[in-house]
C-alpha cells in the first residue's frame, strides 16, 4: 500500500516481552502514554488522544516545570484495535490540513513467541519512488539522497 524508501523513511522495531493488549493500552490510554511518549525530564501532557480515524492526537511538553508548549498535533488516519495505528501531522484533528506537517507514522503490533512485535514506521515527504538500490559511482559524500534521485531518474528514462 505504501512505499517505504530507505533514504527518506525509517522503521524501528522491538520485541516487547508482554502481551499485545498491554502494549496497545500503553499507547491508547492517555495516562499511560504520557509516561513514555516524551523523554524525561520533560513532562508530557496529553491534550487529546481520540484514537479513531479523524480523531485529534495532541501532546504538549513542559521543561523544568515551565509552561506547556506544543509537542505534537496530529490526526489519526487509521485505527485497527490491538493491531495498528496510523497518524500524520500533515493534518490536525478532524482532517484539517496542518501548517507544516511532514510525517505519517504507522504503528503495528503483532503477536510474537516472546510477546509482541512492535513496529513504528515514519514516512517522510518525498515523491521519489525507488526501484531497487544500485551502487552509483558518485563523488563520495553526496550521500544516499543523490543516489536515490539518480536511480529514480534512470528508471524513468
Amino acid at each position: 500500500m505504501q512505499t517505504v524508501t530507505a533514504e527518506l523513511d525509517l522503521e524501528v522495531s522491538r520485541i516487547i516481552k508482554a502481551p499485545r493488549d498491554r502494549v496497545w493500552n500503553a499507547w491508547v490510554d492517555p495516562e499511560r502514554l504520557a509516561k513514555w511518549w516524551i523523554p524525561h525530564p520533560l513532562i508530557c501532557r496529553v491534550v487529546s488522544l481520540d484514537v479513531r480515524p479523524g480523531g485529534a492526537f495532541v501532546t504538549e511538553m513542559s521543561e523544568n516545570d515551565g509552561p506547556f508548549v506544543p509537542h505534537l498535533s496530529a490526526c489519526f488516519l487509521d485505527v485497527l484495535p490491538g493491531e495498528r495505528i496510523i497518524y500524520t501531522n500533515a493534518l490536525t484533528g478532524g482532517w484539517r490540513p496542518a501548517e507544516n506537517g511532514f510525517v505519517t507514522a504507522i504503528i503495528t503490533l503483532s503477536d510474537h513467541p516472546e510477546g509482541t512485535h512492535y513496529r513504528a514506521q515514519a514516512l517522510h515527504k518525498s515523491r521519489a519512488d525507488r526501484e531497487k538500490h544500485e551502487e552509483l559511482g558518485f563523488h563520495d559524500g553526496w550521500g544516499t539522497v543523490v543516489a536515490q534521485l539518480a536511480e529514480c531518474v534512470e528508471t524513468k528514462t
Binding site: 533514504e7 527518506l8 525509517l10 524501528v12 522495531s13 522491538r14 516487547i16 516481552k17 508482554a18 498491554r22 502494549v23 500503553a26 499507547w27 499511560r32 509516561k35 513514555w36 511518549w37 516524551i38 523523554p39 520533560l42 511538553m61 506544543p70 509537542h71 505534537l72 501531522n89 507544516n100 511532514f102 510525517v103 512492535y118 513504528a120 515514519a122 517522510h124 515527504k125 518525498s126 515523491r127 521519489a128 552509483l136 558518485f138 563523488h139 559524500g141 553526496w142 550521500g143 544516499t144 539522497v145 543523490v146 543516489a147 534521485l149 539518480a150 529514480c152 531518474v153 534512470e154 524513468k156
Partner: protein, 121 residues
C-alpha cells in the same frame, strides 16, 4: 535541539520541496556527477529557459546547489551541506523514534512487573 518535538526546520522543508519535482530531481542527479552549465542541464527538457531557470532558482534557494556566472555562462554545482542536512535530519528522527520505542518497552515491562508482583502477594 534533539528533544522529542518533531519539527522540520524551514530549510529542510525547502529541500524536500525541491526534491518533489522530477525535473529538479534530474538536475540534482546530473549535478551529482559534476558541475554543469544551465544550458547543458536544460537540454534534456522540453521547456523554455525561463521555466527551467525557475527550477534552478528554487534549487539554489533550498541550498542544494550553488550557481556562479562567468561571462554568459552560468555554472551549477551541487552543494553537499544542503543534502547532508537532510540526512542529518533523518538520523535525528531515527534517534527520536528509537528512543521512544525504548521508553514504551521499558514502560510496558515496568507495568507488567508491577502486576506480577501484585498477583504474587
Amino acid at each position: 535541539m534533539a528533544t522529542a518535538a518533531p519539527q522540520m526546520p524551514d530549510d529542510l522543508s525547502s529541500i524536500f520541496l525541491a526534491l518533489a519535482d522530477p525535473t529538479r530531481r534530474a538536475v540534482i542527479a546530473r549535478l551529482g556527477q559534476g558541475p554543469a552549465s544551465v544550458s547543458e542541464l536544460a537540454s534534456p527538457f522540453d521547456m523554455g529557459l525561463p521555466s527551467f531557470m525557475k527550477h534552478i532558482r528554487l534549487l539554489e534557494n533550498s541550498g542544494m546547489i550553488r550557481t556562479r556566472k562567468s561571462g554568459r555562462t552560468r555554472t551549477c554545482v551541487i552543494d553537499g551541506p544542503g543534502l547532508s542536512n537532510a540526512e542529518r535530519w533523518l538520523a535525528e528522527q531515527r534517534k527520536i523514534w528509537e528512543a521512544q520505542a525504548d521508553r514504551l518497552e521499558a514502560f510496558v515491562m515496568l507495568e507488567q512487573e508491577g502486576r506480577n508482583a501484585d498477583s504474587d502477594r
